[in-house]
């Protein structure tokens, strides 16, 4: 089952490699990964998605918690949560320009760059929505896809903070 693990990490060199190394070393997989500093510059927020059974995710979170630089973590998929992924997608925009524009509008995407032959569209949403948008663009040629990976936050009062 797909899991979203979100963690607060000391913003130190080498901390990220320990997290990634753990996954490689113990044979867990990482599907997406996103990391950036938080409002507290000493902390980074790292979010990753992985496929894991209940037993596996328990081991993964325990092993992650053992890393000295991991301050706190949460499996967002355990509760209600909001997740978003950002995509920049560059597509051929020739005779089918209008159709591409309409599709982008339907998905609430924004065209952020235009050239005589291309559109670059920005789209945010769940990973499924992004997948659906790519499928919907079958009328044209997709030239380049850049996805940030999933970020997420728990719904309501639950927060991940120190």
């Amino acid at each position: 089952m797909r899991r979203i693990v979100s963690l607060l990490l000391e913003n130190e060199s080498g901390a990220l490699s320990r997290v990634i190394g753990l996954f490689a070393q113990r044979g867990y997989n990482i599907e997406t990964l996103t990391v950036a500093p938080t409002e507290d510059r000493t902390l980074s927020r790292l979010t990753l998605t992985t496929q894991a059974s209940d037993d596996q995710i328990e081991q993964i979170t325990k092993q992650l918690n053992k890393l000295i630089e991991v301050v706190k973590l949460v499996d967002l998929t355990e509760g209600e949560h909001v997740e978003r992924e950002l995509m920049l997608i560059k597509v051929r925009a020739g005779p089918e320009r209008a159709e591409v524009k309409r599709t982008a509008d339907i998905f609430r995407g924004q065209i952020v760059d235009v050239s005589p032959d291309t559109y670059t569209i920005q789209l945010a949403g769940t990973s499924e929505k992004l997948d659906a948008f790519i499928r919907a663009l079958a009328v044209t040629a997709v030239l380049e896809v850049v996805r940030t990976g999933v970020s997420g936050v728990s719904r309501g009062d639950r927060i991940l903070a120190i």
Partner: protein, 576 residues
Amino acid sequence: MLSGADILIRSLQEENVEHVFGYPGGAVLHIYDALFKQNRIQHLLVRHEQAATHMADGYARATGRPGVVLVTSGPGATNAITGIATAYMDSIPMVIISGQVQSHLIGTDSFQETDMVGISRPIVKHSFLVKSAEDIAEAIKKAFYIATTGRPGPVVVDIPKDITNPMDLVPFEYPEQLTMRSYNPATRGHPRQIKKAVAMMMAAERPMIYAGGGVIQGNASEQLSRLTRMLGFPVTLTLMGLGAFPGTDKQFLGMLGMHGTFEANNAMHHCDLLLAIGARFDDRVTNTISKFCPHASIIHVDIDPASISKNVVADVPIVGPVEWVLNEMLTEVDAKLPERTDKQQRMLKEWWAQIEGWRRQECLKVVPSKDGKTIKPQQVIQALYRHTEGKAIVTSDVGQHQMFAAQYYAFDKPRKWINSGGLGTMGFGLPAAMGIQIAYPQEQVVCVTGEGSIQMNIQELSTCSQYGLPIKIINVNNRALGMVKQWQDMQYEGRHSHSYMDSLPDFIGLAEAYGHVGFQVTELSQLDDVLERALAMTDRLVFVDVLVDPEEHVYPMHVAPNGSMRDMWLKKGVRT
């Protein structure tokens, strides 16, 4: 104001470090100069950095204090890797200080540069790349704290040469307190879980205690012994746990696992309650996981939450320091024991009767050779036990001799049996013995090894000469990589692919070349006499080369794959 090198040395002194095991080189020259100018810390020069790590490791295992290693960058650091991994697998507190090339050269493939933090990452509890002289003291403080608390382990501190420069002086103050928001090892167990566990113990009909190295690391042998005796339960120990409960006690069923005793493995298989303490359900213990202890409810006490329910799901997990948890259990058991019913007492008696039946199998009975001359490897350990009265600190290497030592030398106290269990590192025994002898100059330290293992760090005989370490090396010499050969006999129709040692050195001559004493034993009749003479030479290293029966296998041995705990080979061609 001090230089980075002096700060490092002062910090080690603040941590009450008395011995550092190491080898100099370009990147640590400033540090070695600072070492030279002081006399509180003794440095011991090895002949290969791997040996420095094993010395520090043996020192830590025997004393409970962290071992300290100092190596240079590049090859110095990479040579230390095997020893760091060895310590990591057995949760040994160790601080490894590695030199690094100058900060501005990092990342340029400069001379003797290697990414030590990167290379060691999967085999350390934590690591630091120190960026400035001002940061050295705090890094050392943290390194010792992390290495010795919670589940112990090795910590690497990588120090670029330029920040130890004697010309650059910075203020020094050793931090008194540490606050680490992201590292808070458990200091106590959950009281309700402990109560629940004790209630289960009181209700159990076929209880079993299974304890491991965590009891030794956690200094809880005393508590384990009291609990076991109070409850009257049978107890087994892992390879790493030997000595945590007296090996000569009737309640001890012997070691369990792949080469565990018939009674211990059977009791494990048939028990209805398993109390696992400081043990991690290693694959060399459990045999096929799905067939492991099919009737048992499992209580698992461990300091490391990730060890619990990793391989085998625990019904009652208790995360906490073993000593603390066992103390609580003792109080609770003391209160509940009078409530134990006659029926339960009767069941326990029946359980013991069943165990005594398994014991009558005498699975470790040694059959002497027919010719009366050929020495069985087991007889070597038995003789060693007699002549040391079971009181020596025994290190071992890895292979058949290690298993024989574990099976036939009954350890009554913790920290007397020192071996590489998790990683299984050949070459560990001699340097580990050296580290122990440094810590305890008056103790009798014996290294049980084989002609394969000893050659993996034989150069350390030179270090032994330098520091006058009177270790007794018992070389159980079967002219073969015995354990490999045993598996080839059993699983590869006897094709001995590269398991023979057909160009062995003259070990006696070799020992003598390093300034030591060497004896060879070729016949059983000489064994007692030679061992007695060797052990009597308390101020000399004696290398005793014992030629043993090369055909001997280690039994019992788990039937694998797909066997359960009770499926064992008992001798050649005979299985349960």
